[in-house]
Amino acid sequence: MSDNEKLVLALPKGRILKEAAPLLVKAGIEAESAFSDPDSRQLRFSTNHPGLDIIRVRSFDAATFVAFGAAQIGIAGNDVLMEFDFPEIYAPVDLDIGHCRLAVAEPADLAGEDNPARWSHIRIATKYPEITRRHFAARGVQAECIKLNGAMELAPSLGLCHRIVDLVDSGRTLRENGLVEVEHIANVTSRLIVNRTALKTRATTINAWIDRFREVARAA
């Protein structure tokens, strides 16, 4: 049971982790040295807090670990939260990092002549089939989603489909692939997320971490 008592913080690899690192330091969390070693194969890391461990997983998985209570707290973008819509996740703090937006993009030449009002069905390549389906269903369009895990921007030029739904940061990748952003779906930032049961059964400990991250995010 003692290992169960430990809190696990699930962090997403990659872009968000880079931005989250300074926040962790300000929140007083220092991971063991293997955590910042890119060659390390370790997956779970201890911290300067004996009651807190860190795991490093893919961004979609951070939410899954927290939803199932395998990790009690974590960081996830609200794109991931919107896609899964887990009822067991609370997202109490907007960390104000990982800013980007979720948008529909299509080839520039198509954008000129297209009339979205006439659509009844469209095919879209995306990492976010649920968000995409919901977004288009809300205006009466049926979206057939082709699930891709990366390099979405290739899909239109190779004829896989005409349109994509993807995260857009500066818009450079889109431009370089001859795509333009035609519709904005949602703004994305990273959130501190918390497992529902963990918050209810260990309210004092978890609230202390929530408050700490809230202050760090506000000060940043």
């Binding site: 703090v93 959130r191 209810k200």
Partner: protein
Amino acid sequence: MNDNEHKGLLPAGLGDMLPPEAALEASVIEQLMARLAANGYDRVKPPLVEFEESLLTGAGAQMASQTFRLMDPVSQRMLGVRSDMTLQIARIAASRLRDVGRPLRLSYAGQVLRVKGSQLRPERQFAQIGAELIGSDSVEADVEAVLLSALALRSLGIETLSVDLNLPTLLAAVGSGAGVPDAKFPKLHDALERKDEAGVRALLGKDHAPAMELFVALLRMVGPAEAVVAKIAGLDLPPAARVEAKRLADVVKRLRNADAGLKLTVDPVEYRGFEYHTGVSFTLFALGVRGELGRGGRYVTRDGEAATGFTLYMDTILQAVKAPAAKRRLLLPANTAIAERQRLQKEGFVTVTALDDVEDIKSEARRVGCSHALIGGAVVALSQ
């Protein structure tokens, strides 16, 4: 084409319960029902299947998408398989037990079937156990429902039980008191349900700043009950919301007086699953158990009677219950007298009688999973 070649494959969310879990579930249900009976709750047993419209009207409408339907060849009407038992109990109270004096205390245990499992509860069939206290609007009734559910679960040895008190009516009272239009409520509930502070701010920020400040304050409040109740009392709530908050404070105070050791938290913005609740509600958790052990709260029956109660879910409870140590199992030679068997059973052995004469009774005992064998009239423990 049917590629279901393997006869062991079952539909998603359905499973065979094997030894020892099947016996454990039965004994846990029996213990819980005994605890409810000892507190004056009489057991009722509604049928598995009912007419669709009686199952799904009023508060039942929210279960419509979770209910399996069948066509009844006899009445030529549509039937529904129950996906929740609470409404059946309310129906019994309003019909056949209409003339019984109030308050009416009823308990039930039975299996329910759901169209879809959730990610956290993939089971589509599981057992529900519950108690309903019908015909009283008093604070004492709220307190009784919470205490009884906690008492029943702790009698199973679930020491880390934690009761989260909720007040689903508070949100509407705060919202309409502060002038938030009804159209914003669904999105507001979604944001509050996720404790998505940024979402609440974005939704109410421009036009409803005072309401936004109240909701953000409430959203941050989850924690130990007394502390949260004091914080709520410090807010500048609309009058209707203050009445709700006062009721919650009363319940917390009386619960604490009745049971000083009970772990109580309050989360004033919890709403999902409480859409039809009309007062103090609660959710039961335990450390290390995924999901809720049960939930309950105040509602109004179809006939307008005030009622409260709770439902416990066996799939999660079994995660929290330790299996009792296995009984000693004793292999008896074939033709052991009945009286001898009964004597040994009284001593606490489970007896298994060999059907044929065996040469090496010790190895036979091991083969059939016995810990002991009767050899020459004496009980011999087998080394593992």
